[in-house]
Symmetry: C2
Subunit: 422 residues, 2 copies
């Protein structure tokens, strides 16, 4: 058992911010929060306590969607058209990522940047390369960070040649499962079809069975733009996008993250609720590569569908979750202009999305309620001083809007302090 003392902030519910000034969070040897207290009770007085003074203690951030192979392409090609983007940036980097030495270097950089940005949990879609995915898995285990990682399956050429053959894709996925599935508590292997337009029926069915048989969670893209929505509608007449995933066993049969979700019908949203789908909302990506609609975030939140934030690197250009929180708030305000019944989210609500909202994919992660994994950040906001007396909620908001990785002074995952990955 160990205690951490400081200015404690977390959100057990969207919009409900718990503030414990000069509080102490006690963490058990299992790395989970035992309790958060204002006054240290008698029976805890012998427990060693690290005192972070006036610094903030927050739950670590969760990035619910990013593409590891696309890390180099942040900022690149957002002005061009989609096929230029794929051909000039996306594909060349994917090809390089298949080279072991390059993948090792890139994965190391990714983990370092996740660490820097206080992203203690992330859901990562790797490329089709099994070798790069294996390396990422192993490096992530060594880092101590929490993640779900999957080799992308993409055996149907929706935008040109397929990225891999069905046979190779299956074989490599099976190999990865035999090596990594269920082998680590913090890092889980995920089933990761790119999305329906890039997978054959055979592949989708195969992956759905594999996920259920091995109890592997699933990540994929859903309804990002009229383009993919149209392709799915044409290929599966009479079935909606969500139902296609469902039919193949890839929609909530095991824990599932669906990314974007901009164009879903009322019926699909209802199916998502029923199937406990986790939604990864990627506001910066939606701003960089607009698809014609804004995210109807409030619709999902009102139904109690768990939503987290995704950087969608490299559709998004930053792993900084504070910037992703700000973008979520801003996009929701613009959405409310168009659809006034969809009330904008507050900063506190968006902070919830970036912590417990996304963290819920991993279980009891993203909050400091008893039993939650102590995934935490210590925030030094001294340089953000604005000559005013600020309350703890104001200091949190100020850090979110104005802070950057320099303000994150320590990171914990499952109760262990995490060093910068080497």
């Amino acid at each position: 058992m160990r205690g951490y003392r400081g200015q404690i902030l977390y959100t057990p519910e969207p919009g409900k911010l718990e503030c414990v000034p000069d509080g102490t969070v006690f963490v058990g040897d299992n790395g989970c929060v035992q309790r958060v207290v204002r006054e240290i009770p008698k029976d805890m007085r012998s427990v060693p306590v690290d005192d972070f003074g006036d610094k903030l203690i927050l739950p670590g951030f969760c990035d619910l969607h990013l593409h590891s192979s696309q890390l180099p392409n942040r900022a690149m090609g957002y002005d061009g058209d989609f096929s230029d983007w794929l051909n000039n940036y996306t594909y060349p980097t994917e090809r390089l990522y298949a080279q072991p030495e390059y993948a090792r270097k890139l994965n190391r950089r990714l983990l370092q940047e996740l660490w820097e940005n206080g992203v203690t949990g992330s859901v990562i879609m790797s490329s089709t390369s099994a070798a790069a995915t294996a390396d990422l898995f192993e490096q992530t285990v060594r880092s101590g960070l929490r993640a779900g990682i999957g080799k992308m399956n993409s055996d149907l050429g929706a935008f040109g040649e397929p990225n891999e053959t069905t046979e190779d894709s299956k074989r490599e996925t099976l190999e990865l499962i035999s090596r990594y599935a269920g082998k680590n508590e913090r890092v889980q292997l995920m089933i990761s079809p790119e999305f329906i337009p890039c997978c054959t029926d055979e592949m989708l069915g195969f992956l759905g069975e594999l996920a259920q048989k091995n109890r592997l969670s699933v990540q994929s893209h859903l309804s990002e733009s009229p383009g993919d929505v149209g392709m799915v509608a044409k290929r599966f007449p009479g079935l909606d996008y969500a139902s296609v995933y469902r039919k193949f066993g890839l929609f909530g049969q095991t824990p599932t993250v669906m990314v974007h979700c901009l164009y879903n019908t009322e019926q699909e949203v209802e199916l998502m609720r029923e199937c406990h789908i986790h939604v990864a909302h990627c506001p910066i990506s939606n701003n960089n590569v607009p698809s014609g609609r804004l995210m109807p975030l409030r619709r999902f939140m009102e139904r109690g569908i768990p939503v987290g934030l995704g950087s969608d690197v490299a559709g998004g250009h930053t792993l900084c979750m504070m910037q992703n929180i700000v973008a979520a708030v801003q996009v929701s305000k613009q959405q409310a202009v168009l659809f006034p019944e969809q009330k904008p989210v507050t900063v506190q609500e968006a902070f919830y999305l970036a912590t417990k909202g996304g963290g819920s994919f991993f279980g009891r992660v993203g909050s400091f309620e008893p039993g939650y994994a102590f995934d935490a950040l210590v925030i030094d906001d001294e340089n953000l001083d604005d000559f005013m007396e600020r309350s703890l909620p104001e200091r949190l908001i100020r850090f979110i809007y104005r802070g950057d990785s320099r303000n994150i002074s320590r990171r914990f995952c499952q109760g262990q302090e995490i060093a910068k990955p080497e």
Copy 2:
């Protein structure tokens, strides 16, 4: 004469990016660019050259609109309603800013942060406090940075009590003019009515005359939201917003910056073109405090109306012009979704807005064409390395999306290197 060697980038026109790899910009003793060359010509070989190696040399940024007294309120109150914002944040800070010791501290911080963010030129609306404005003027002169600064005039209570009496406002404005008008080459005193709803007719007429008599430039807000547009329409039936400013001598009779410009009619836009109005587009502010419309940026650019970017601190939460550039691109993309004829701006176009677009308010500022003031930044982008060979335009874009003040290693204004304001 002195030369600066490096990877030179600037935009003589929107969308036209000049790249001079391993180039040298020669700067005369007047602080202005003489020429940019790839090879140093014979007659220049004796000129001393500072070699910045592989670093980028860019024009300094221009922030065409910010409120000095609101610096502490970045991030604060964006979730609340407008009157809470005014009462809980805006007004208390304005009142504090009237205290000399506080104003001195805040102005110093502002200049330090402008320096840090590479904002070598800015148009600053101070508060109604003449003392705070005087201090800001003097500190800015000492800093070596370029700026336009004005005491805000606000003698009509559009949102409660007026901020000052007409008499005090006039007297203090005259005093400031007698002390500072025309006294410094880089720092100019500006006429700064808050906006029409907060100024009496008497004040507007007085300021218009004053501006013309003393050849002082003007800054004010124009058509930010249905609220102010409605108030002006009600008070001046039959006149549009722009024409009210024009009628009082505050719309292009001298160089004029109008801020926001979200709701202007075709007729007003035409008047803006005729009157050579400079428009300050504040995309982050529009995102934080949405008013129901997005900026029709392309409309202004197509007419050749000079547009610059404004942080609008504290409607915007950051002085980082790279973030403002990214927001301008993103907002223009969302606008294009709604109005497809308004083509989104590219990063290079938005970079133009943040340099030469805004800089044109000061004259020949914001570019490296011959005769332009050498207001410049040296950018060290080594930590942004992405394991790929990147062209100079790509490096610029990468810095804009992913860089922060840490990447700005040197700042020049009018040919002089600027140290961090003390």
